[in-house]
Structures are given as C-alpha cells and as structure tokens.
Point group: D2
Chain length 348, copies 4
C-alpha cells in the first residue's frame, strides 16, 4: 500500500531527525526559552525581513488556530473565514469551543476576496441592530487553501488593505505554506506575509518536521501575553527545543522550500497524468494536493495498491478524490501510480 492520502504519513526529514539525535542529551531550559528556539526565531525574523516580529513554536495546526484566534478576539467577536476553511470544517468546533463564531463566507476554490470582507463588515456596521449580531473581529485565510489554491500578491494586498481599513487583524494559516511559496505560479514571499498579515504561521508538520508550527506575530496588540495563551490552551511543549531544532534544520539552508518544490513537481506529474487520461482536475492548482474526478470503478481498482482521500461525489458513478505528495514522496511511487492510472484507464 502506497499512501497518497495525506502529507503526514511519514516521520521527519532525515536532516531534522539528525538534529534531534545530535542534541538529544543536552540539557536546556524548557517551554521554548532555550537557545535553539531563540536561534530559530531569529532565522525566521530574518527570512521574513521582520526584525521586530514575535515568533512562537506550537505543536499542531488546530492548536495554533485556536490559540491565535482566542488571543485576538473579544467575546462578542467572530472570525471571518472561507466556508471551506479548516477552522470551519475540520477542527471539531475548536473555535466555537473558545467562544467564537466562525463567520463563514462562500468561497470559490477555497478563497475569499477583499470585496467579500468589505461587504460583510460594511453590512454589519450598517445594521441598526448590529449589537444582536456577532461582530467581525478578525479574518482567517489559508495559503495554500484547503483546496491547494493560492492567493496572489495582488489578492493578498487587497485583503490586507480591507482588513486594515476595518481594523481587523489578518491571520494566515500556513499549515502547508512551503508548498505554496514553492509553487510554480506563486507570487508571495515570507516578507510579503510578514508585511501584509498581522499573524501567520509556517507549517512544519506537513513539510518535513515530526510536528510543529512557527507563529509569526507582527501586530503589537497580538504579541501581548501570547505565551500565557499558549500555556492555557495546552499548546506549550515542555521540551520546547524540539520545535526550535526542527525549524532550524528546515530553514537554515533552504531545505524547507527545496522539499516543497520537489513535492509540487511530483504533484504536477500526477496532474499531467490525470489530465492526459481524461480525468478532470477539480479546482486545478499548483501545490501538493491534487483533486481529481474519477469513475468509481477506476478508484476501486486503484484502491488495492494506493490510499487516497475521498473528497465527495461528483455524480452517481464518479467521485472527487485527493492525492497528496509531500517532502517524503518517492518519485518511483509517483511513477508506479501514473503507470497504474494509465493502465486502468486504458491509456497505456
């Protein structure tokens, strides 16, 4: 069984693991106050051209989303997000459990627009009974989105401007950030994110680390007491250095984006193969997630050797599924899959 169902099926990139091994019996202070975390934070500030940013390391994505959002909102405020956003769909209501409504906007290919944000906020402010309605207090976007699509620089600039016009912090979920920044049609840089967002994170879990997300906060109001929030949400790792070490390994010589670029290239090979065999891509993108519609009969034959994720029914005989590549995907496995797709679809 070869797994393409997700991008967290393996452990860590060997370079990451080596760093953990090499430092294993060193003694350091706990809770992210060690020198490795300090060095990793400095590296990230540099990478982002954001010398005054605060950098914190958390363990996972849901945890990071709920901690950042709880830190930013007052009780009567909600967070604007795409209806398909991770916080709205796949976190078992972690945001609501923190007391806040997700203000879901209809999304196209996982993305929302500056115009939608503007319209939502203006409608709220124009409502004479607005005190009876959840106040928009923050905007959450993902890049790449949950559908693998990307925001362009122009789109992000427009969203950022809308947010600042309305006094809303902009939070970018970068659980798969590398796969986005390394994509062939990407127009964003780390520095753009730091400049345009108030807070964002650089995903480690899906990009070569055992686990870990690096939160970058540029908005001074959000920096205040953030470590209290991390602790309260159960997100402060006792051996915090494990996080600093992993991000050092991934970021200090560009490994992070190199791994992502390779995963995106392998996803491109899959995309080409699917299209060549006549299977339509869904929300075509350039990152590591490939969404494609295929007949159920074909999927049944592939299922014996490959795992992939069911995404939904296209029609009575066809489903949309997701294939992921990752930093750990082997080219030979991609080639095997392509060969089998060709075979089962009669395109040999």
């Amino acid at each position: 069984m070869i797994r393409f169902n997700c991008d967290y099926a393996e452990g860590a990139h060997p370079a990451v693991l080596e760093k953990l091994i090499a430092t294993n019996l060193e003694q350091t202070p706990g809770y992210g106050t060690d020198d490795y975390c300090l060095a990793a934070a400095n590296l990230i500030r540099e990478l982002c051209s954001a010398p005054s940013a605060d950098v914190h390391f958390l363990v996972g994505g849901t945890q990071t989303n709920m901690t950042v959002i709880a830190a930013a909102l007052r009780p009567h405020q909600g967070v604007i997000a795409a209806a398909s956003g991770h916080i709205n769909c796949h976190e078992t209501g972690a945001i609501e459990a923190s007391g806040h409504k997700v203000l879901a906007l209809p999304a196209e290919n996982g993305k929302i627009t500056a115009e939608q944000i503007d319209a939502h906020v203006c409608a709220h402010m124009a409502d004479g009974d607005r005190e009876h309605v959840v106040q928009p207090g923050m905007v959450y976007i993902s890049n790449p989105t949950e559908l693998g699509t990307l925001y362009s620089l122009a789109e992000l600039e427009a969203i950022s401007a809308a947010c600042r016009r309305h006094g809303l912090p902009l939070f970018l979920d970068g659980a798969r950030l590398g796969y986005g920044l390394a994509a062939s049609d990407n127009t964003l840089s780390f520095a753009d994110l730091a400049r345009l967002c108030d807070v964002f994170y650089i995903g480690g879990t899906k990009q070569g680390a055992l686990f870990g997300e690096a939160v970058v906060i540029t908005n001074a109001a959000l920096k205040r007491d953030f470590r209290y929030l991390i602790k309260q949400r159960g997100a402060m790792l006792a051996k915090g250095r494990l996080l600093g070490l992993q991000f050092l390994a991934l970021l200090e010589d560009g490994l992070y984006l190199r791994l992502a670029r390779e995963a995106d290239r392998l996803a491109d090979r899959l995309r080409d193969a699917f299209e060549a065999c006549g299977y339509p891509l869904v929300g075509k993108n350039s990152t590591n997630q490939v969404f494609v519609s295929m007949p159920d009969t074909v999927l049944d034959r592939l299922r014996t050797d490959y795992s992939f994720e069911m995404w939904g029914r296209a029609d009575d005989t066809t489903s949309t599924v997701r294939f992921c590549t990752s930093w750990a995907t082997r080219e030979e496995n991609v080639e095997a899959l392509i060969a089998d797709i060709r075979k089962v679809s009669g395109h040999v």
Copy 2:
C-alpha cells in the same frame, strides 16, 4: 408614530399587570420556588397533558436558548438549526459563547425538514474522519419561525421521529408560540409539542407579559440539574414569582391564545390590504408577522407615521419590510395603516 416594527413595544396586558399589583407586597420565597410558580407550572403541565414535565421560568429568549442548549450538549456537539434561526443570526453568538457551533442548514421560509436533519446526521456518521467535525447533538426549530411560518403536525412528527432515530433532543423555540397555535391554519397543540419535543418554551415577552418564557422539559436527561444551569447563565430571577404570576394571568383562562388569535386576525387584515394594493407578501404566513415587498418611495411616505422593520432589499427600488401585530395592537391603528397604504398606493 404608531409602531408595527415589533411585538414588544408595550408593557403587559392589564390582566397581567393587575396580578402583579394585587400580590405586590406579599412575601414569597425567591428564585422560582414560590407557590405562584408552582401553580403556573401545574397549569402548564395540565395544558400540555404532560404530568411529569418539568417547568422553569426564565426572563428572555436568548437567555433561554443558551441555557437549554448548554444544558443539553457535550463540548464537541453542535446544534442543528435553520440558517435563518434566531440562535444563528440574532443572539450575538450566545451559543458559540457557550462553546457550541450552530450547524446551520439552508431553510425555506424559515423551516427545515426531517429529511435535512436525517441527511446531515447520516453524512456525519458516515464520515470516516467525523471526529474532526462537530457532532450534531441537538435540533433547534422555532414555531412560528423567524419568518412567521408554521410547522404542520405532520412535519413536526417527522422531525421528532428523525431526532429520536438519531438520539438528538428536539428543542422548539416558542418565543411567539401563541401566535402560531392561534393561527388559522395551525395544526399543533400544546400537548403535541410536549409529546414530540424534548424541550420547548411558551413565550411570554411577545405575548402579553412584561417578560418571561416558560420552559417545558419532558426528556428526563435534560431535567437533571437544570436549575443549576439557569443560575449559572444569570437567568434565575430573584423575585421569580413575577414569572409565575404572569403566566398564571395569561394561561389560567385562555387569555394567551385569545390575545394571539386577535393579533393574527389583525395581521390577516394587513396581509389582505397589502395584496389588494399589489404588494407581494414574502413567505406568506398566518401569524402576527407580515413580510411584504414595497417600493422604497411608498415606504418613505409610510415612515413618517409608522415604524416597521427593514428586512432586506428586494431590488434597486424595492425593499422587504416587516409589520408586526401583537396582543396590544389596536384595530384603529391597523385601519389607519391600511387607509394610508391604500392612499399612498393609489388604491383609495
């Protein structure tokens, strides 16, 4: 200025006020443990043919909704509701502030169906990753709905059956219950509600009381410790007898439904007048809320003498608005409004 914008513009029906005056200097125990609350609860049990129901008196609707829902759900559960439901739209996120997601289903004229509930729950249970998604834990409906429409007995029976099949308590928001039960095309009784719902409430605030909602709980699991929840949510009135007294005045001789029937009749007069003048009713119903689309020019002329509520834009020159009648609406005011509608629309 004559107000038709809502059904809580006046104080209380004189019979209610008289009962408060007559008992004003009596001494009673607090917090709803007095004899008046006891008598009112007995009366309600009788009215509902539900001798073992628990009855509690709370002050307002939002408070009641959040208390009942918090009492019923575990942390990972959400409440299914119409997207247009009060808890989803007009309670400033009170349910989310209690930790729970509102699982909003698209609604037609304010109503959801047994099929929708069934489909939502089945899809959840069939999801291999359902632990990443909020679990449906309760169903909330309003009758009349926020758009004044009604569930039929057959519809409510189907919803109740779906809920029981899936182990979901059914909660019916009856903030305007009387206007529903008294409507010309109503098919429900108090006893039906007690039989088909697990918990519902009989609205007082909008139906002749100064304030007050009577919660009827028939499901044993929901009864447990409910008074702790009332207190914790700030919903336990010190002078609880004020609630018992008001419900006694409203219910002991059928005043409640008589007042509602009269309000519905006056709303019918408005409906007839609007249609006669060519203004289309929106989601035509038979209760005390009248939704109608009218040209903005006409609304501007009415606005000088009447208040009504803006509901939305129909098109560039037309708006949908709400006119409410209530237990306190005077026939002469309805006639004045009808005359003015005819005048401004040239239908004299």
Copy 3:
C-alpha cells in the same frame, strides 16, 4: 410567617409600580434605547458627577457580574475577589463558565485590602514562570460586602490606587449599594464610586425595584461594544424601558436612599435587640443584613413564625443566622420579632 431571610421577598415599591402602570400601554423602542432609559442614565450620570459615564441597565446581579467581567478580561486573565465574594461562592461558577478563574483572596469580614491586591500582583509579576499562572486582570469588590460590611473612603481610595498602579480595572458590585450609602457610618458617595472605580453598579432588585441593576462605566476601554456583550450574555431585556422606568422612580427624588436608610434603621433595632439579649453579632455592620449567633433551641422557637437564613454552625449548640431588613420591611414586624426574641430568651 414573616420573612427576614432576604431582601427580595416582596415586589416593588409602590412608586415604582405606579410608573410601570402609568406607562404600560405606551409604545417605545426596545432593548434599552427608549427615552426612559435615556433619562434614567442621565440622572445617574448627574448623581455620580460623571457626565461621560456610560450607563446600562441589566436584569440581575449574577448576569451583571458575568457580563462586566467577560467584557473586561482577556482569556488568560482572572478576577481578584474576596474568597467570600458573591462571584466566588454563589453564582454557580458563572465567571468560570465565561472562561475565567476567580483569584480568591482571604477576606476579613468580607473585605480585601489594597495591600493584598498589591502583594498578589507583585508576586505574579515576580514569578519567572508567571505564564503558567492565571494573570490578575481585574479586581472585584462588593459594597456592602456579602457580610454587610462597608469599605471606607480611605480603603476604597487605596484599593483604587493599587488597581491603577497595576493597570487593573476596579469593579464594584453594588447589589445592595443603597443600604451601604445610607448607613450611619458610610463615608462614600455615588461620585466617589464613579471617580474611584472603573465600573460599578447600583442595585435595584434588592432595593425597591422588581428587578434591575444599573451599570456605570467610567473607563473608556470597558465602554467599547458593551451592548454586544449584554446581548450575548442573554442580559438585554426586550422591554428595556421597564428598567429605565424603575430607576427613574427610585432615583429622581431620592427615594432610593430614603428607603435604604429606613431599612438600615430597622436593622439597627434588630442589632440592638440581639445584643441586649446577649446574642453576639457576627461581623457587626451598619447595613440591612444582621448576622448573629444564637442557640439552636432559640432558633427553633423563632422558626415557627419567622424565616431567616442559616449561615453556618458556630458550635455544637449554636448557629450563625442572617436576618435582613429591606425597603419593604414593616416596623410592626420588626417589633414583633424583637418581642419574640426577648420572650424566648427570657429578657422580657
């Protein structure tokens, strides 16, 4: 049975009720935006010499406490209070249900001191691991306290100074405020409260109203969006004018303090009688709550004609109990009680 167990056994002072009756069928806008609320707020601002204060009317004390505290704190913050404070003991965890720890300080006769607050905050800030501990974010005191005692002007000035030194809003629970301000040894005025607190409330429920607490906010940061919080916590009364009207009746000609002064005087009569009969007062105070230790045999005889509240066991044969007077207490009932106390204790 004559009730001395609490100060909310009756309805409202006749002047309050008359105002409700006189305005009963007037139509007003809802949710506290009517002219009566406006007028009552203006009156309170004047009374407090606080022309820029925000004034809001809520229904009850627990509701008010949880709304104010939720509005003021960030998620990692707690509220400092006396261990005997109402929010720590008698609100079924309403504050914790809002997400916040009550940081309980040992209290003497219901009071905490500026020194205690100072010491707690300094210890927190000096803790190298303070991020693992709830951060003090607000101070809550009651005046009169739950034991009927009073803060002096000097004490309140010291507490206020400590709070401001540490950036902590000071919140004063005035559920029985009138009984305090009218007490023989009171040194505080409404204006002092507005000057020294960031937010406080003037209790109505226990002082002549059917219900109602008037929140006065002087701190600009706490004013922001407060009405959203009121609505979210289920504390926004639809017929909000009922609150404005009641406070107008109580405050516009000094009735509020006159009623309180009379209740305090009657409590003084009880205190004198208890002491004369050799029953020691517990935490002797000058307000409307009388705490006294009496033999259980005596209490058993009083219990047939009078209700009072058990407060605790003093020793194997003696209990501490509470007798309350209120705006509604009749002098003849106090005299009857005194006569009976004398009789059962052999002091005729």
Copy 4:
C-alpha cells in the same frame, strides 16, 4: 551548568529515539489510528489488567488535564482538587477556560483525603441553595503529587470508594507516575490505578519520552466520543504514531519503571546528603523531586554551577528549593552536586 531544576531538560531515552529512527520513513495512517498506537494501547491494557479500557495518547499534561476534565463535566460542575494541584496552580486557568471551577481543598503535602471529598460533597448536597453553588462533578488527584508525595493503596481505595459513593469520576494525573510506582515505599500498581480510578494517565514527557501522555479510561461514560474531545482541544497529533512508538519503547520491556527507579535512587542520594548537611527536607518523599530548605547564601554559591527551582521563602534568610532527578540524570552529576553541597556547608 548542570540542571536539576526539572525532569524535562533532555530529549528522549536512546531506546525511544531509536524506535523513532527505525520507523521514520514508514507510512502509517494519522491521528493515532496506526498499528503502533494499537500495539501500545494493547500493552497498556495488559499492564493494567484492564482488557476493556480505552487508551489514548496525547502530547502534554495540561492538554490532557483539560481534555479529560472537559469530557467529564457538565457546565455547572467543577472538579475537586488539592489547592496545590497542577490544574489549580500551573496551567494558566486551562480548566476555567474550559468553563469549570477548580474546587480547591486544602492539601497536606499535596494530598487530599477521602474524608475531605466526602465532607465537601455532603455539605454541597445538604445546602438548600446548592443550585447557586458549583456542583462537584469529578475528583482530580496527582500521584506523585506536585510535592513528590504518594498516595498509599489504602488512601486511594478510600478516595475511590468516596467517589463512587457520590457518583464522581476519579481522575489521577500521572505525569510522573513512574517515579511514584518505582518508589521504595510505593504500594500501588498499574492494575490498582485501573481498578480504582475512572481515568488516569501514564506520563511520558518527564519519564523518557520526547513528549506524550497515555490516557487510560475505564469508565464507560467517559469513553464516549473521547476522540472528538481530543481533536477539539487541539490535542490530536497528526503523526500520532510518534506517541504509540514512544510508549512501546518505554513499556514493552519494563524500561519505564527501571528508569524511574534509578531516578528515585539518585534523588534518595540527594535527600541523604541534604539531611546529612543539616538542611531539612520539606514534605519528605521518596520520588524524584527533592524539596529542601537552605540558606540563601548557600544557594547563591550552588547557583553558579547548578540550576534548581525556587519554591518559596522559608524565612528571611532561607528558601525552599526543588532539585529533580530524572531518567537522564547522570550519577556523576549527582556526586558532583553532593560534593559541592558538602563543601559549601562545611561538611567535607
């Protein structure tokens, strides 16, 4: 600098790390559904003689505490704990942020008794106004406690019996469980814990793992939907196998208790040395945490070469400090410390 300030200063025991290395590039399903987690859970069930227990793996202690407690309590319930309990002191209010009050009982050497629990619950149930007070809904104890002390089998049996008498689930925090079970005066076994508690956890973070806590649930009511709760609280590790693998390494050949026994032995050496030099142990225990009172002048000299944790002031010139040993403590470092203690105290 040699660290004795905590038991999480190093990475993982080599056997743990090796298992992670050996499986690093294997592909497994995520979120704890892999075969390693399955195997580790089976091993734990066997170890606990609890074939029907549910076993879940979480990342850290605060996270585990808040997830278990949120899963067990209804909104109006609180958790009984020692005032010195971790959930009451060092989790930044994580329990309150979940909506629940910690009902803190005075503790002696970190421990509470069956009698205290009994008395608290009986007092609550006897309170006529108990609905105004947080209802005890669960009991939390730590073993070893935060002060390193242990519950005896008799004590735990008594606590368990009290809990069952009152219908309260008993939750045992075993963040340092191994150091307890391996202690010279321990009387408990894994099987005792499974039999007497409703839920407990086996700590990994402080006992040889990089991170990880294994939750064992024997009470059927607590098992229900627990994975939803894990996900919602941000505690579901994507690469869940990392947890299963670590517990396999620690538990499959008894390494866990061997490491703990050695750490306890080294702590004993420190205890002996402190006492020999005349420094009194505080709350003397037999586990890996050593609490001792020493003159500040002595501590100042030790501080240059050793880290330890300040615990409190004993008097003007003396402090209480904590020295920890762990699975990673090297005997030569203990000997160096002992030598230096002797030297600075003149006991060479």
